[in-house]
Symmetry: C2
Subunit: 425 residues, 2 copies
């Protein structure tokens, strides 16, 4: 029965029962960490074999380049091909980098700040004010980068098909709006898959700033839970078709394919952008870790190899997602106090409490030994204006713990919701 329709008496009786349950659980000294989107050990084990030197052969590329020595700025050709296949672009549009795509995003923004988006562009740090569009809820680490750089962030709601495009199109009329974050597939934390229609609009919309750039973090592009990765219009192609070929910069990595600390990252963009990035990168470094590139290529082989490997990941984490979703369903369905995303890929489930309850729910759970990502973390400046979003990261804990943790979460959600409803009566 929907809590809203309950009488005060019914709510108070329910609250007493829940408080008893909460205290009973509290007495058990639980300790669950649900904070980070880290792969479980079993997932990492899937790639252990890659560490055998049999995957290195004579440590040379097919063109006989010694991967142990200096050189090759844009990645060995085999690795460019592999990463290009993952994000669906031509290898010529790809640079394979080190172990962190976050680091490339940061670097790219630093370069745009100090040098501008091209050799002839004005450095963003010379502008009086720079703004970025941030679809929310989103990825905290994106927001941290823009915050550190003093870029003003503007929230735009993430709908089921992507960011609210009427709002986005309005915002880009402001020449100070220079860019936008996007996690286009199995978005962090909602699991949203941007529709082709939204992608076309992002690619073609008129922007007052001619150096407007979309930071397209395709982190979860092959991270499917069911059947196969969602098909999606390629943003580079969409931008090219719309005559805005330099607008998007794609980032991706194998951090959640092979090893989270020791994967490959890659950046992809138009030919001109890639040339510009390499021009800078040529000053920045002599090259990235080619031995690790070779290891990845020989282990994952090609796109089909990646997809087969990701099925093994899905088989490990799908039951975890389902335990969360089933528990939410069985505990909270019909109560009218929580909505949740039902992702078909990615690493997170996003829940929305009644307004003003998220921080209280997280605090209550923490008091009981169950730690969730702090409320607000999914918003710029750590500030969720409606204080309702919480990110659940189901991959790391074992299923039994996850079930207990989510049950506890549901109790906290119920208690906080009843308190709120009662207060408002």
């Amino acid at each position: 029965m929907n809590y809203i329709n309950m009488t005060e008496q019914e709510l108070k009786s329910e609250l007493a029962k829940l408080t008893q349950q909460y205290n009973d659980l509290k007495a058990q000294n639980l300790s669950y960490d649900m904070t980070r989107g880290k792969p479980a050990s079993a997932q990492l084990d899937l790639s252990n074999e890659m560490l055998s030197d049999k995957y290195l052969g004579n440590i040379k590329t097919s063109k006989n380049i010694d991967c142990r020595n200096y050189g090759i700025l844009d990645g060995i050709p085999e690795a460019k091909e592999l990463m290009a296949s993952i994000i669906g672009v031509d290898p010529a549009n790809v640079i394979v980098c080190g172990n962190s795509s976050l680091n490339i995003m940061y670097d790219t923004l630093m370069k745009f700040m100090l040098f501008g988006v091209s050799k002839s562009a004005k450095p963003w740090c010379k502008e009086e004010k720079i703004k970025f569009i941030c679809p929310v809820p989103g990825y905290d680490r994106h927001f941290k980068i823009t915050e550190q750089l003093g870029i003003e962030m503007i929230n735009v709601d993430l709908n089921d098909d992507g960011p609210d495009m009427s709002k986005v199109k309005e915002l880009v009329k402001d020449p100070a709006v220079k860019g936008m974050w996007a996690v286009p597939k199995y978005s962090n934390p909602t699991g949203t898959v941007y529709s082709d229609e939204v992608i076309k609009e992002l690619a073609s919309m008129e922007c007052a700033a001619d150096d407007f750039r979309i930071f397209w973090d395709d982190a979860y592009t092959v991270h499917y839970l069911y059947d196969a990765p969602a098909k999606q219009l390629n943003i580079l192609k969409a931008c090219c078709d719309a005559g805005n070929s330099d607008r998007a910069v794609i980032f991706t990595s194998t951090s959640k394919i092979t090893f989270s600390g020791s994967g490959l990252s890659a950046v992809a963009s138009s030919k001109d952008n890639i040339e510009y990035f390499l021009w800078h990168m040529n000053v920045q470094t002599i090259g990235h870790d080619k031995i690790n590139q070779l290891r990845h290529v020989n282990f994952l082989k090609n796109y089909d190899g990646v997809i087969a490997h990701m099925k093994k990941h899905a088989d490990i984490i799908r039951p975890k997602f389902e335990v969360v979703l089933n528990t939410l369903e069985s505990e909270l369905s019909g109560l009218g106090i929580l909505t949740w995303s039902k992702p078909r890929g990615g690493y997170f489930i996003s829940i929305d409490t009644l307004e003003g309850c998220a921080d209280k729910v997280v605090a209550m759970a923490k008091d009981c030994g169950v730690v969730f990502t702090p409320a607000g973390a999914t918003f710029p400046y750590g500030k969720d204006p409606k204080n309702k979003n919480i990110r659940i990261a189901p991959t790391l804990p074992v299923i039994e713990d996850l079930k207990e943790a989510i049950k506890m979460l549901c109790i906290c959600v119920k208690i906080c919701s009843i308190n709120k409803i009662l207060e408002e009566r």
Copy 2:
């Protein structure tokens, strides 16, 4: 006999003979690349064993942290200890990073430009003009970074004991002089070892800019050719003793210890600087490649392990250095037309022709199929004001090739020198 003392007739006759030799060699279609300071395959082979998974054990640190997953921004404790031992500092003063120390130098400068040297400092990009002191000859890639950032570079001669300190101390009276490059041990390209006296002066000199920083690229700190690495006063200690504890930032890597493309890099500095770097790095990345850190630690073990490993490198490259030096000695000694460094470590030999001859020598050698680093590369903006310095990189070629290439070089030096002497008479 010194060429200067020869009669015109003698010189012309010598020139005719040399030209004949040059043409004979040219007819042989030589092809030697002497441009880059790359390790030879035999050196890289010394670390091949490191790629075996036996050096990874259960892929956990001694504190049971899974190196395959996210986390640990400053490097696994074992790797911090190893890198700290190489540069002679406390592990608490070290951050272990990715595969490229050049990349950390670039990053550090980018951060100083955009954010300043500390949370309270003024960003360098907000200053009207920034200048850097560049000991010359020096490392081309350092100069490329400062050039790209629009920092004005000022040449200071590198003496036998380090940079000309009277010039340096004069320059730092200018508040626009914000920093200085330094390769303090077995300097690129001269092999110079800064004296403790010079280090003390650098640490204690009065600088008009209170955010003056020394970029201390300790790239060759254990790269000895004879006996043992040169002992040297530690710059962090010297700065601390002088009350300027934040002045120096040390960079190093294992690029020329293990693998040039897949080593570990590290940055070391005062506690405050390290804290500040980590504060930024925490926004930049989730962490560096810990598996590669573990691999290095288990393979190299500790400082003694590193020194024993470096002896194997020395045994491979010392004969190459000696072939170059012996050939220069036997071909050019007493002619008064060339001076050269006699390094006891590092990767290069530096030669100085008569003024105005370096580019001609390099061009002549290239015409004959022997490619040296372009003349001027060892100076800011690629411009050697006296046009006399050439960098020789002896490590990569095999000894026979090296001998031939240097013989050819000597012929070119003789020809260009005679031409110059004749012109000036």
